[in-house]
């Protein structure tokens, strides 16, 4: 049996902090600023937090580090580290803990100063010995994504132009987001003509490297209705993973998003056609193509043509990464919290110029490692209950 979690919990607070460049700030300060802002968004304070869901690239003990810094002693803590996917799958863990009474207010928090860190504020991300891959100097993570892109192009005829369209669409959305790091116009020719990093991907196929933090606050649905903002309900959430080392990925062109998407949609009782706004983890342009396929928005192998027709652009058929995504808004190492925050903001109608009118169902997707861990959350307004 599965526990029916649909609509039982909700996101009641969401915030970003220090997106872009934050020289002089530690990762803890950035994470704490996001936590403080997300709690204020909910009308709650740190004293209310009794469940902590922390993730970091800079600490091997993120729950301990962030709880100590925030001055809280939560009764339930976890620090699932599955890369950029973590914050999305932590919503499932938070929902389970909330529903089971292990906590009443769950804080999911992330922060990084990876762009600006120097001196005493620099905390290198943990190095894991991977002796079978290390001699070949894989430039991680981009070289893995590049080999998936190469294989997708080989197997399905996906083109560089189609990949470039993902970056072009992301930039068009970013132009409408005051928080976005890169907002200047970008053309497919710009993407194709920029510096190759790992063939076939150029620097404009790659996400930004920024600082930034994000946090979301969750409660059970009954309490959510009494808080400051309209609740955004967790309708479905699921994860899956296929490997740790890129060379162990079973099929380079198919991810565990097949599993996470299927399970999340089943929990939510929804289909891809019912999603109003989709926030896919775009660490690289190939991510959007493969993840939209795996999540069921188009058949496997057709992702290139699917994204290539302009449907991801503002005004297109599939509002996508409406904040500009990792490609143009922000990418402080792990993006999952940010796909979630943008989905929340869209469902609340807080997105100003880039608002997708009448959005009631949003999808937030996380991706970790090199297509290793995938997590999918379906979020909805009160109208979806």
């Amino acid at each position: 049996m599965t526990w029916d979690l649909r609509g039982k919990t909700a996101i009641v607070g969401a915030a970003t902090a220090h997106l872009g460049e934050a020289p002089g700030y530690s990762h803890m300060e950035i994470a704490a600023a996001a936590a403080r802002a997300a709690l204020a968004d909910a009308g709650l304070t740190l004293k209310d937090v009794d469940g902590l869901f922390a993730v970091s690239m800079h600490s091997v003990f993120p729950a301990l580090t962030y709880a100590e810094y925030l001055g809280i002693q939560p009764r339930f803590s976890e620090a699932t580290i599955v890369g950029g996917s973590s914050a999305v799958i932590q919503m499932l863990h938070a929902a389970l803990a909330l529903e089971n009474g292990q906590c009443d207010v769950a804080l999911i928090v992330y922060g990084s100063n990876q762009r600006s860190a120097s001196g005493k504020l620099h905390s290198p991300s943990g190095a894991e010995n991977l002796p079978y891959e290390k001699p070949y100097k894989l430039r991680s993570p981009i070289a893995g994504y590049a080999m998936s892109a190469a294989r997708h192009m080989h197997d399905y005829g996906t083109t560089r132009e189609q990949l470039a369209e993902v970056a072009v669409a992301a930039r068009m959305w970013a132009a409408m987001n005051p928080e976005a790091f890169m907002r200047d116009p970008l053309t497919a020719a710009d993407v194709l003509g920029s510096r190759l990093v790992c063939d076939p991907l150029t620097v404009r196929d790659c996400c930004l490297v920024t600082d930034g933090g994000g946090a979301v606050v969750m409660t059970r649905a009954d309490r959510a209705r009494d808080l400051r903002k309209d609740p955004v309900y967790l309708l479905g959430c699921a994860g899956g993973h296929t490997h740790r080392q890129y060379s162990m990925m079973p099929t380079l062109t198919t991810t565990a998003a097949v599993q996470s998407g299927r399970a999340a949609f089943a929990m939510a009782g929804l289909t891809p056609a019912e999603v109003d706004v989709v926030q896919v983890y775009d660490a690289f342009t190939i991510n959007a193509v493969m993840l939209l396929e795996d999540l069921g928005f188009c058949p496997k192998g057709e992702g290139g043509a699917f994204v290539g027709d302009g449907r991801l652009r503002p005004g297109g058929a599939l509002p996508f990464n409406t904040y500009g995504g990792g490609l143009s808004c922000t990418h402080p190492g792990m993006l999952g919290i940010f796909t979630t925050i943008e989905a929340v903001r869209q469902l609340r109608g807080e997105c100003g110029e880039r608002q997708v009118a009448g959005a009631t169902v949003g999808l937030a997707h996380g991706n970790g490692g090199m297509f290793a861990h995938e997590s999918t959350a379906l979020l909805g307004t009160g109208a979806t209950l």
């Binding site: 002796p131 079978y132 894989l138 070289a143 080999m147 080989h154 990093v197 060379s247 380079l252």
Partner: protein
């Protein structure tokens, strides 16, 4: 080489210039990366066998690097004739000339004090599968 785990066994063979991978005595599957149990059948007994060295490029990339830092280099995933995949690189051709589907042949080289497996494009009639 029995009183150690399969990781140490693998690297000890390589250090002796003898490339071997485990083959499960239970189901016959070659296992890579080496494990204490066969991911196919759960078997725990292995024979350490020498791969034929024949492989095919499954995917490839060129890591672009400034000439001053050593220049561009290849990283590839190679499907071995034994049915397993490994990360490596293809040498002997320009990094960008390495193609998916290219038959390749393994060669042991020394790098930073370790023996590692790299691949060369197969001569006509060799390699591949």
């Amino acid at each position: 080489m029995s009183e150690q785990g399969p990781d140490a066994t693998y690297f000890a063979y390589l250090a002796a210039k003898d490339w071997r991978i485990p083959k499960c005595r239970g189901c016959g599957a070659h296992v890579f990366q080496p494990r204490i149990m066969c991911p196919s059948c759960g078997g725990e007994a292995f024979d350490w066998v020498a791969p034929t060295g024949a492989g095919v490029v499954h995917s490839t990339t060129v890591v672009r690097r400034r000439p001053a830092d050593g220049g561009d280099y290849n990283v590839a995933l190679i499907d071995l004739a034994e049915g397993v995949r490994m990360m490596s690189r293809v040498e002997g051709v320009e990094p960008a000339a390495v193609e998916i589907g290219m038959p390749v042949t393994a060669r042991l080289v020394d790098q930073d004090g370790d023996t590692i497996v790299v691949f060369d494009p197969a001569a006509d009639g060799e390699g591949g599968r």
